[in-house]
């Protein structure tokens, strides 16, 4: 979460927001003409010697390693220009020194020809460990709620599509990415300040993509009586196709929107929240409650729930099932796109963001009970909160593991989910 980054030095925040991937300063006067990376490790003003730093190329192959000397300085010659990452080996740190932010133990960067680049690994005592527990817990809870709301919004379509057609859609994450990337392109083309109207346009785009997929792909396949397992595998193919088409146009980098990238956090008692995240929370709550009202109070919502409950019965009582399914795809695609825009605002936009979210959406949907919209909301909130709260006790690298583990546990104990109706699923 970006809000965690606000705890790091203000300088670092600016750097991260610029997407510079951790490079603090660039020095083009390379000593020997070759590409290299360098830096100085200090903690509390003292140099930290004997720490190993390893550089990898884009494929994860090791291309060089270096150790900090008595002045804390290190330097690794690099094989050439390109995309790299460098990792600080935490095992070689002295016992009383830690990475100030454990997520910044690996930095990604690119090198130009002849460039010697300075990388900064901020060391010191982890400020999060120093902070008192209750404030930290409230902050993690808030971060979890923000994340949970975003997952919930994106997952409603996934759950309703399963409820009405039985399709386990592995390509749902790409609807999320599509929304975020579409808003990004509009934002960049129209300049700063345009995100406010780029978001609704992206929602319309996402809805159109969802409906287009239903009309152009899923409905014809259902009409051909394609089996559900076949449909599942096709959705995986579709996910690969869409994700990489998006990458083709957007590129592999992760970038922030032009708007709201850097903001001063507001302090409310124990918790800090940027105005940007606050808007995301309020907007998500409004959208999710509107969806709830739609499902409970309108004829259309009743029809959706009826089709989801029992398709044949709904059809025989005069509901136009095909139309209801199309509307669900419209709604699900739009909500997923909006979730993508919000995720892009809170974190960054990348072509992998939807696929990364997919398993968490599945976890949320299964937790709440596959096929129900309200279950998806409740389950997603649980997933979001568990993910962020786990960082209080465990490493942030493992935060998604807990959400997935809870999903497996729920399947074991209560396979129908928190809000699901008991039926045989085995």
């Amino acid at each position: 979460m970006r809000s965690l980054a606000t705890l790091v030095l203000g300088v670092l925040l600016v750097v991260a927001a610029l997407g510079a991937g951790g490079a603090l300063a660039e020095d083009d006067n390379a000593e020997d003409g070759g590409e290299a990376i360098r830096g100085t490790l200090t903690a509390e003003g003292e140099p930290v010697p004997g720490v190993t730093i390893v550089a990898f190329d884009a494929d994860g192959n090791e291309v060089g390693a270096g150790q900090s000397d008595d002045q804390g300085e290190w330097r690794i010659p690099m094989p050439g220009p390109g995309e790299y990452s460098a990792t600080l080996d935490e095992a070689t740190l002295p016992d009383d020194v830690e990475l100030r932010d454990p997520e910044r133990g690996t930095l990604e960067f690119s090198l130009r020809t002849g460039q010697e680049r300075t990388l900064l690994f901020p060391l010191g005592e982890d400020e999060r460990v120093l902070a008192r527990f209750l404030p930290r817990a409230s902050q993690a809870l808030l971060n979890g709620i923000i994340f949970g709301l975003i997952i919930a919004m994106a997952a409603i379509g996934l759950s309703l599509v399963f409820g009405t057609t039985g399709l386990v859609n592995f390509a749902h994450g790409e609807l999320v990415t599509f929304g975020a990337v579409m808003a990004f392109f509009i934002n960049v083309a129209a300049g700063p300040g345009s995100l406010l109207w780029a978001a609704p346009v992206a929602v319309i785009g996402g809805a159109a993509l969802g409906a287009g997929l239903e009309r152009g792909l899923w409905r014809p396949l259902r009409d051909r009586k394609t089996g559900l397992i076949q449909l599942l595998v096709i959705s995986i193919g579709l996910s690969l196709l869409l994700r990489n088409l998006i990458q083709l146009f957007y590129g592999g980098r992760s970038r922030p929107y032009l708007d709201y990238a850097v903001q001063q956090a507001l302090q409310f008692g124990w918790v800090r929240i940027t105005p940007r995240d606050l808007i995301v929370v309020v907007a998500s709550l409004i959208v999710l409650s509107s969806v709830g009202v739609l499902l409970l109070k309108t004829r259309l919502g009743k029809a959706m729930r009826a089709v989801s409950d029992n398709r044949d019965l709904a059809e025989s009582s005069g509901i136009d099932v095909k139309q209801v399914i199309l509307i669900i795809w419209l709604m699900g695609g739009g909500l997923a796109a909006l979730g993508g825009v919000f995720l892009g605002v809170v974190e960054n936009v990348s072509y992998l963001m939807g696929f990364r979210l997919l398993l968490l959406m599945f976890a949320g949907v299964i937790l709440g009970g596959l096929g129900t919209a309200f279950g998806a909301m409740v389950g997603s909130m649980v997933v979001g909160i568990v993910t962020e709260m786990s960082t209080l006790w465990f490493s942030t690298e493992l935060k998604f593991v807990w959400a997935l583990a809870i999903m497996a546990l729920v399947l074991l104990l209560r396979p129908q989910g928190i809000l699901g109706v008991k039926e045989r699923i085995g």
């Binding site: 090791e62 454990p102 690996t106 397992i229 076949q230 599942l232 595998v233 690969l240």
Partner: protein, 330 residues
């Protein structure tokens, strides 16, 4: 455009270690999906534990590589048990989600800094297969015949042992699926309740299939890291499983040699397509600025995705399968 180059690159991959690795992964999946109807989307996880069984035994504990192979196989069997007990009673689509999640959990855990002392986390492990290359009887040099290049004596050694392993696994699968045991598996795939009503312990059969297929998949993982002499958590992305599925469906599920044919054809097409794109860039047919390295990768993956969709929609029995055997439903 140098078509001979395209052909040579395609053939090189079609007989090379890549084809061996994915043939093994797909033979395992064939056991799961083709014969038993289990939708295992965590094959990358089985390959991961196999690979780390080897590299951890050698690098972390200083054991022998051959012991490591045994450890890898046992780890894969153990993972299958651990995964199967909660999930095999679930419907196929739930199984798919849980297995892909389990594979991702494994990857996250193995790359975490908490696991650093054992797995070396994101640094990966290197140089653990010297014992394998030490017994290489092939004299030093580069090998090949006609247009097919086998590369160095080291690569040829991997190829020979690898294809031998593939053949053994095919023999095993062939013998198993024509036995009464195999017929029970197929009956579970066709109608689980019918098999159950005949007094077969469906859960136990599914578990045996999961263990066996997982172990064969883990062999694929071992071949990969022994060939590359390095192991890294991020080799084992869900994409590996998706490739294996594409290969399985291309060749034809529920056929003994389907995965093998699928892997050879898949890697031939993928590599020659790659070279074709590179040449299109080099000769200026496509402007180079439109086709960077990143774009090449994206086009390649998008094509695999499209192929998987089209195959599954129009020819789920692949090249060699029977349509009758692919009428699966949840």
């Amino acid at each position: 455009m140098d078509f001979e180059r395209i052909l040579i690159d395609g053939l090189r991959a079609a007989v090379g270690p890549e084809a061996v690795i994915y043939a093994l992964a797909a033979i395992g999946l064939n056991m799961h999906f083709g014969y038993t109807g289990l939708l295992n989307f965590g094959q990358a996880g089985f390959m991961l534990v196999g690979a780390y069984g080897v590299s951890i035994t050698v690098v972390t504990f200083g054991g022998s590589m051959w012991l490591g192979i045994l450890v890898g196989l046992l780890a894969a069997a153990f993972l299958a048990l651990l995964l199967g007990i909660p999930t095999l009673r679930l419907r196929a689509d739930y199984l798919a989600i849980v297995t892909i999640a389990a594979a991702e959990i494994l990857r996250f855990v193995f790359r975490s800094s908490a696991a650093n002392p054992v797995t070396r986390g994101v640094f990966g492990q290197q140089q653990f297969a010297d014992a394998f290359y030490a017994i290489n009887p092939i004299p030093e040099g580069a090998y090949g015949f006609w247009l097919i290049s086998f590369g160095s004596h080291r690569r040829l050694w991997v190829i020979v042992v690898g294809w031998g392993l593939v053949l053994l696994c095919c023999l095993l699968v062939w013998a198993l699926v024509r036995s009464p045991w195999g017929r029970v598996l197929k009956s579970i795939r066709e109608d689980e309740d019918a098999a159950r009503s005949l007094g077969k312990n469906v859960f136990s059969y599914k578990m045996q299939s999961l263990v066996l297929g997982g172990a064969i998949g883990s062999l694929g993982g071992m071949v990969l890291v022994i060939f590359q002499q390095q192991n890294h958590p991020d080799i084992w992305l869900p994409l590996v499983t998706f490739y294996a599925y594409t290969i399985l469906i291309l060749g034809g599920p529920a056929r003994v040699f389907g995965p093998v044919a699928g892997s050879v054809i898949f890697w031939f097409l993928l590599s020659s397509f790659d070279t074709f794109l590179r040449q299109a860039r080099a000769t200026g047919v496509v402007p180079p600025e439109l086709l960077g390295t990143e774009a090449l990768g994206a086009i390649r993956l998008a094509t695999v995705g499209l192929a998987l969709m089209l195959l599954m929609a129009f020819r789920p029995q692949g090249i060699f399968g029977h349509r009758r055997e692919m009428q699966l439903d949840v």
